[in-house]
């Protein structure tokens, strides 16, 4: 099993857990669903390639942003005691993912001469991100962001993934899409609530 497989398992396990919860399968049923989904994705071959292989054909490996988002959403009740305000911590992570994606993806896809993605190949950028991670650990309200940055940095430092770019460990388009949808839904809910209050 390589790093890509591991990241897909870490993404699919909470997804299976959430799906098990949706069908009201009980705690044991949830855990079975959580185990079955990654196991099937890893072990069931279609034309000689497992489902993880097909997923990796589209997205080489999920970023830590996606893994953490899935874990946080699936295990919300179990994780919430770790944080003073779990919802606020998750929202902060999503806002950072959204803002990073909005500012970086268009430029990385060719909008203008400057390519921010290229910066993340350089050790200078990784050094700065590591310093930010240190700061996040010291400022105790940002545990989730600190975990996100640290996991990404460690994986990049040890060349665990397919990419040589730190950006790919931090963020991927699916995590960006999830964060964008979540923030939009939250804004719509807030807008409706304000209108209803009026």
């Amino acid at each position: 099993m390589n790093f890509s497989d591991l990241m897909w398992i870490l993404t699919l396990f909470p997804l299976g857990y959430s799906l098990g919860g949706n069908v009201r399968a009980g705690r044991v049923g949830q855990l079975i669903a959580a185990c079955l989904l990654p196991a099937a994705a890893l072990l069931v071959p279609i034309n000689g390639i497992n489902i993880v292989g097909y997923l990796a054909s589209i997205l080489y490996e999920p970023s830590f942003a996606l893994v953490l988002t899935c874990v946080c959403v699936a295990f919300r009740s179990r994780l919430s005691p770790l944080f003073d305000e779990f919802t606020a911590a998750l929202l902060r992570l999503r806002v950072i993912i959204f803002l990073s994606g909005v500012s970086l993806y268009p430029m990385a896809l060719g909008l203008g001469y400057f390519d921010p993605y290229a910066l993340f190949y350089r050790p200078q950028t990784a050094f700065v991100v590591a310093l930010i991670a240190c700061g996040m650990w010291m400022g105790k309200r940002h545990l989730l962001i600190a975990v996100w940055l640290t996991c990404s940095l460690v994986a990049h430092r040890f060349d665990l993934g397919e990419s040589d770019n730190l950006f790919d460990y931090l963020l991927d388009p699916i995590a960006f899409a999830v964060a964008s949808i979540s923030i939009c839904c939250r804004l719509i809910r807030a807008w409706r609530f304000r209108n209803a209050a009026c």
Partner: protein, 412 residues
């Protein structure tokens, strides 16, 4: 600031556990920061282009000690196409020992699922190419990467300082060419056997739309500058700086927008290089050009050249001993029925067509590839009506004659 566990009642033991976890996290981050800091302190200066001065003219002069002009060499041949109905996008590489390798993709049609990357070796002794053999197929790549692969595309190859041949090629998992990614394989025995494939991650957006067409330029640290292009949202050229172990070190954008692609990078000195590009924008259709003076760290604003380019691939290489470049390009303003050679001076302020390789009313002669071997002979390969790959070899005597006939003087 305090942390609560299980509601509002702080539990000292659990808080201590949290503090311990936070300390471990901090130490990990700090360790990573220190290791990157050490990297920064021990960072070597950025490498420069390797200039292989073939010095063909000096070889010719030194050859037999006489000034008697030898017979100019100019010879063409069609390569065995491996029995494939459609072949395209050849690339040439110097092999260890002095032979030339040619790679191209061939199958039932461009983009077909049966397309494979083919290889043939040009024997310097006999002047003939070996029969073509497949070095990579869609199925083999899927097996090696553990990923679904829909089709294969453009190859580009280079011989590194250790005698290892690197073959970069395009693959597509979903969609068309605009969603391609780049893979590479290496050979330590001149193309007889190949390593497992590895995929390069070059784009943050599903790693799509980075393609290769022309070969890289060697760098002094053993890595290379690989010219690539993007054609999903826009069409623009980039240079990937690849380390000797195949890791990407940096990426530099040559152009942006929707106009230029398939860059051909040619280095004329350790720090100076030129990029000639296919133009895919609105008329007037002219070849695009950019240059670097710091070995690919920065590029000048792209500008159109006088040479026409109706959305066709170009190939360029340096003529270090003549202090200029030679370029093979489609000289027709409307299609791919004419293929020509041009030479340019060091600054590409003067660019002159010197010879027509193909000149027909119809047909396709496209996707040229060029290289110069260790004997100073210049090789060109191109697609001949999609049915075969055509090869031309000429020497400096022929080039000198062609330059003289065109009244071109390139000062060394």
């Amino acid at each position: 600031m305090h942390f609560s566990w299980r509601g509002q009642n702080p539990d000292g033991r659990r808080i201590r556990r949290y503090q311990l976890a936070a300390s471990v996290g901090f130490l990990m981050s700090a360790s990573v920061a220190i290791s990157y800091g050490i990297d920064l302190l021990s960072e070597t200066p950025q490498s420069e282009f390797v200039i292989r001065s073939i010095s063909a003219r000096s070889v010719a002069v030194k050859g037999d000690g006489t000034d008697a002009p030898s017979v100019p060499l100019y010879r063409t041949q069609l390569l065995d196409n491996g029995g494939q109905p459609s072949v395209h996008a050849a690339t040439l590489v110097n092999l260890p020992g002095g032979d030339i390798g040619a790679f191209w993709f061939g199958g039932s049609r461009e983009g077909g699922m049966d397309v494979e990357i083919w290889f043939a070796r040009y024997d310097q002794q006999t002047g003939k190419f070996s029969p073509a053999r497949s070095v990579m197929s869609r199925q083999l790549l899927a097996e090696q990467l553990g990923r679904y692969i829909k089709k294969l595309g453009n190859p580009a190859a280079i011989l590194d300082e250790n005698g290892r041949v690197w073959l970069f090629f395009v693959s597509v998992s979903v969609g068309g060419w605009a969603t391609s990614s780049i893979n590479f394989i290496t050979s330590d025995d001149g193309g007889k056997t190949w390593s497992s494939a590895r995929r390069l991650v070059t784009s943050p957006f599903f790693n799509v739309s980075t393609l290769v067409r022309n070969p890289p330029v060697l760098l002094t640290d053993g890595g290379f500058a690989l010219p690539v292009y993007h054609e999903l949202a826009g069409k623009f050229a980039e240079i990937l700086l690849v380390a000797p172990n195949g890791e990407i070190r940096n990426k530099t954008r040559v152009t942006w927008g929707r106009d230029a692609l398939q860059p051909s990078l040619a280095a004329i000195s350790e720090s100076r290089g030129a990029v000639f590009m296919r133009y895919a924008g609105d008329p007037p259709m002219h070849m695009q050009f950019s240059s670097t003076r710091d070995a690919g760290r920065h590029f000048s604003r792209p500008r159109p050249l006088e040479l026409p380019n109706a959305d066709n691939s170009v190939a360029a290489a340096a003529l270090p001993e003549a202090n200029g470049f030679w370029i093979v390009y489609n000289s027709s303003e409307t299609g791919r029925s004419a293929l020509s050679i041009a030479v340019a001076d060091r600054d590409v302020s003067m660019i002159v067509p010197i010879h027509d390789l193909e000149s027909a009313d119809s047909g396709e002669f496209s996707y040229p590839a060029i290289t110069t071997d260790i004997h100073g002979h210049h090789h060109v390969a191109w697609t001949d009506n999609r049915q075969s790959i055509k090869h031309l070899v000429f020497d400096d005597n022929w080039l000198t004659q062609a330059l003289d006939a065109s009244w071109v003087i390139l000062s060394p």
